[in-house]
């Protein structure tokens, strides 16, 4: 008895010591890599372009790196996401007992992501890309003992490698047609090769960015990955898919023809609407955020498509605004999505729940996390004072100012695009109200939610840093004016107009229209205070304020089960968009034996699966399985048979080579 009591504190100390050092080292290293990334990235954006060639690192081809404004922008953005995530990871890893492997891979993953935009040649780019994919895969599979994680990891592995194959093929065609390995040395390619590269790289980069129909890994991998990893993937890694499209398709091969613009616009619009629809009916908090990433990447693709289309139609000013919208929204999305996943992670760490239907009432138990998630949700809903507002405003402005140069394609594409963006914003508001309102307000819907504890200081510090970024981007996007101008100048589609009007008051370059997010915030605060003062009227005659029970239409004892849940909150939207979402609902009524009219129990089951995944992926998987089964017949395990195959193979090679 004494022995055991003596041994326990010692064992705890060992665990505590392990928990103390490992997460701190990993987290701080990640943040340090992030700080270095921000530093290098800003040097790339603001300074003169620099190139580095390291021949000894990889035999034969070497590693070619360069810093230019476009790459620097993405390096700085990735680094900026890694800083809060690193700080957050310290506390998260302690609570969730992350192992040595994910902790040591975390900084490597950030470093690999920083390397991708710095690559100056096709071979280096592919190397960095694969390094990033492998590192992210290890992190997704960190808690692989749970079956859901295992299947999500396999799914992610397959999709990311297929995407890599598409990029590999695309860049090989580019390299062969352009006659060089380094991006800077590529010569003009033939139209056929150009089209092939566009299609292949769009598929590859689109799958990384989560564009339809290659989005299916996002809602599966994001919920199962540890939350800091989800934040890194959703706020930094998917951006690199967009980077690939801008760098390869819009810069090296650009400015693209009109149909590239229309393609990007259509894919983006469909992704945005589909993503937000799924988000507005999702009940898993992290799945909802993952679908919101699909939505926002869709909006960015719409902006890229609009920029291409407008530039090809001769509307240089509007094209510049569209490209600025893409970059600004990318930055805003990185800020609020990073914060969103981190806050969801702190809920998950203390309650073990991601299911909104069982959360609720967190505002009283964890007020800081609630406020921080609120900031993220406001950003994601694209409302004024949120980090996503300015980007979406610029996007809509670029679309409505296309008309003076109108061609029929443009005259039809812009209203539809505005409609899609507007529907996305509207449904995005609904999704985020659900995530915040049902998840954090009202009363707890389960014991785990009722016993939630506030996150530790390191997690709160990381989240507060991300929230500060959200607020700054929402009220003072002017901080990005200089970097934005440098980047816009190097992308062909947006090089036509000078975007210097984007100051405190955002004056559109060369177009009529203005908006001032900072002043809007100031005046709104003044107006709210004025309203508060107005409501003081007559307060001297009032009795003293009181805290009383809810009226609730006279109901006596409300239980938490009587509240609206995420499922019921999203039900009207689910019914309106029934044809797209195809929900499977199942109502089972059990009656008493005495009479079929006396109901004993009603069971309601609803499942909303990803329709596209069922329609597009299942047949492919079935076909692959079918082929694999066919090949298995030739694969009996007999050594004699294999020797025959070998001999036949050599024979064929000899015949062909002769």
């Amino acid at each position: 008895m004494t022995l055991t009591t003596d041994a326990t504190p010692e064992a705890e100390q060992v665990i505590a010591r392990h928990n103390g050092v490992g997460p701190a080292v990993a987290g701080l290293t990640t943040s340090a890599v992030g700080v270095a990334g921000v530093w290098i990235g800003l040097a790339g954006v603001l300074g003169a372009p620099r190139a580095v060639q390291i021949d000894w690192l990889v035999p034969l081809i070497g590693v070619a790196l360069q810093l230019d404004p476009l790459g620097g922008f993405f390096i700085a953005l990735t680094g900026a996401v890694a800083v809060p995530v690193g700080v957050y990871a310290i506390g998260y890893a302690r609570r969730e007992h992350l192992g040595v492997v994910p902790l040591s891979v975390l900084p490597l993953f950030v470093a690999a992501m920083l390397l991708v935009p710095a690559a100056a040649s096709v071979s280096t780019f592919l190397l960095a890309w694969e390094l990033m994919a492998a590192a992210s895969l290890i992190l997704v599979a960190a808690q692989h003992t749970r079956p859901a994680v295992g299947s999500a990891a396999v799914f992610y592995a397959v999709m990311t490698q297929l995407g890599f194959v598409a990029i590999l093929l695309g860049l090989m065609v580019l390299s062969a047609a352009g006659g060089a390995d380094r991006f800077a040395d590529l010569s003009a390619v033939t139209p056929g090769a150009r089209t092939a590269v566009f299609v292949l790289t769009l598929a590859g980069f689109g799958s990384k960015a989560g564009l339809l129909p290659l989005h299916a890994w996002l809602p599966r991998a994001h919920p199962e990955a540890p939350s800091p990893v989800s934040a890194l993937m959703s706020a930094a890694m998917v951006n690199l898919g967009i980077y690939g499209i801008i760098r390869i398709d819009l810069q090296l091969l650009g400015p693209g023809p009109r149909w590239w613009g229309v393609t990007l616009l259509a894919i983006g619009a469909v992704s945005a609407v589909y993503g937000v629809l799924q988000a507005s009916v999702a009940t898993d908090l992290k799945r909802l955020l993952a679908y919101s990433t699909v939505e926002n990447m869709g909006l960015i693709a719409v902006a890229l498509g609009a920029a291409t289309l407008l530039a090809a139609s001769g509307a240089a000013s509007a094209a510049t605004v569209a490209m600025a919208a893409a970059l600004l929204h990318l930055t805003g999305h990185a800020a609020f999505k990073c914060l969103g996943f981190l806050a969801a992670g702190s809920v998950l760490a203390t309650t073990g729940l991601r299911d909104l239907d069982r959360l609720g009432g967190l505002a009283r138990r964890m007020p800081a996390t609630t406020i921080l998630f609120g900031v993220a949700a406001l950003g994601a809903s694209g409302l004024p004072l949120g980090a996503g507002f300015v980007g979406e405003w610029l996007l809509v402005q670029s679309l409505i100012h296309a008309t003076p140069h109108h061609t029929t394609a443009l005259a039809l594409a812009t209203p539809l695009a505005v409609g899609a963006v507007a529907l996305t914003t509207g449904l995005g508001v609904a999704a985020m109200v659900k995530a915040f309102g049902i998840g954090f307000l009202a009363r707890p819907r389960s014991d785990a939610a009722a016993e939630a504890r506030e996150a530790p200081t390191s997690m709160l510090t990381g989240m507060a840093a991300a929230a500060t970024a959200c607020v700054v981007l929402a009220v003072a996007p002017i901080v990005l004016a200089t970097p934005l101008r440098r980047v816009l100048a190097v992308v062909p589609a947006s090089a036509g107009a000078d975007p210097s009007g984007l100051g405190t008051v955002l004056h559109l370059p060369g177009l009529a229209g203005s908006m001032a997010p900072g002043l809007l915030a100031v005046f709104l605060v003044v107006a709210v205070l004025a309203a508060v003062v107005a409501s003081r009227w007559g307060s001297r005659r009032r009795p003293t304020p009181a805290m009383l029970p809810l009226w609730a239409c006279g109901a006596d004892d409300l239980t938490a089960r009587m509240q609206y849940t995420a499922t019921s909150f999203g039900e009207p939207l689910q019914r309106v968009f029934d044809d797209v979402l195809r929900p499977e609902t199942d109502v089972e009524v059990t009656a008493f034996e005495e009479s079929q009219y006396l109901v004993a129990k009603v069971a309601y089951r609803a499942r909303i699966s990803d329709v596209l995944q069922d329609l597009l992926y299942t047949p492919v998987v079935q076909a692959v399985t079918f082929c694999a089964n066919g090949i298995r017949r030739a694969h009996t395990g007999s050594v004699h048979l294999y020797l025959t195959y070998g001999a036949l193979g050599v024979l064929i090679v000899l015949l062909v080579a002769r």
Partner: protein, 319 residues
């Protein structure tokens, strides 16, 4: 822009803030008279507000700061919209701060605040109202933005002052095909957004059919007064905006004299009064739609707005 512009701005804020309960009073009075009842008079909403403001401030158990903050946020966003909108004069000092898209954003910010307050109470009716309100709001958004788009095509800007000034210079604009289509779409949207018939019944006493009222069931006393006042202001400013976007005559210019401002005030008051009477008169003949028929109505208005934009895209030559 001169001193009178600021005066005009102050006049429109005070005018809407004080006049909003009267607009509600007018709609109720028209309705009661058409239904053959006597009614409480146009000033009754003001008397209600005064009564509620003197009542005890009640905070229900289990609610958070969201519940407390929602009414001021709703009122604040509405006040800011009033300050930005060109109601009395076109050259509002705040005109460059927010364009029509930002105004729509502010409108939604108010809606979201009230929705969250409805969820925050933790009652089934609060959640129900919130869920319905946000569904309608989400479906209204595309129509609003497309109608704004259609209005901004001839002007080349989505800033409100520019649109109004352009319509004054080109009166034919108001009766052009895109103009009419956008007008109808906006009317449907305003009806949906302010919770009037046939989307929502502002006079309902049956919880199961409520949308807006279900969210605010837990409010009482001064907070209820603020919600009702803000809702009245939303209706008033949207009607005034509708009036000035399509029939801007009488509005003072960017550099007005005292006489212009006086004419502007009278003109906007007359427009809002006429629109309020028409709205209430129309409501007498309408029954509330089933909730799941509302999306069909909104889809119809979306189509009108889309047609308006397409028509404007093809038929407009910019001045």
């Amino acid at each position: 822009m001169n001193l009178m512009s600021y005066l005009a701005g102050a006049a429109q804020i005070t005018g809407v803030a004080l006049g909003a309960p009267l607009v509600i009073g007018v709609t109720r009075q028209v309705r009661t008279r058409l239904e053959g009842r006597v009614g409480g008079g146009v000033a009754q909403p003001w008397r209600d507000l005064r009564k509620q403001l003197r009542k005890q401030q009640i905070t229900p158990h289990g609610t958070t700061a969201i519940f407390t903050a929602a009414p001021p946020v709703l009122a604040g966003t509405t006040l800011l919209i009033i300050a930005v909108a060109p109601l009395v004069a076109t050259g509002s000092p705040l005109d460059p701060v927010a364009d029509l898209f930002a105004v729509v954003g502010l409108l939604f910010l108010g809606t979201v605040a009230l929705t969250l307050a409805g969820i925050d109470t933790g009652t089934s009716f609060g959640g129900m109202g919130a869920s319905r309100e946000i569904t309608i709001a989400a479906l209204v958004e595309p129509t609003i933005l497309l109608a704004v788009f259609a209005l901004s095509i001839p002007t080349g800007s989505s800033n409100l002052g520019a649109i109004v000034a352009h319509t004054i210079d080109n009166p034919a604009q108001a009766v052009s095909l895109p103009g009419v289509l956008a007008f109808v779409a906006l009317v449907v949207v305003i009806v949906a957004e302010t919770g009037r018939l046939p989307v929502d019944n502002p006079a309902t006493h049956l919880e199961l059919t409520m949308v807006h009222e279900a969210m605010v069931l837990e409010y009482a006393g001064p907070r209820l007064a603020m919600v009702e006042w803000a809702s009245g202001m939303r209706l008033t400013v949207l009607l005034a905006l509708l009036g000035n976007l399509f029939f801007p005559w009488g509005i003072a210019g960017p550099d007005p004299s005292a006489m212009d401002v006086a004419i502007g005030i009278v003109a906007i008051a007359a427009k809002v009064a006429v629109l309020a009477v028409l709205l209430a008169g129309g409501e007498v003949f309408l029954a509330k739609l089933r909730l799941f028929r509302v999306p069909e109505l909104l889809a119809g208005s979306f189509l009108l707005a889309l047609l308006a934009v397409t028509a404007a895209n093809f038929f407009t030559t910019r001045a």
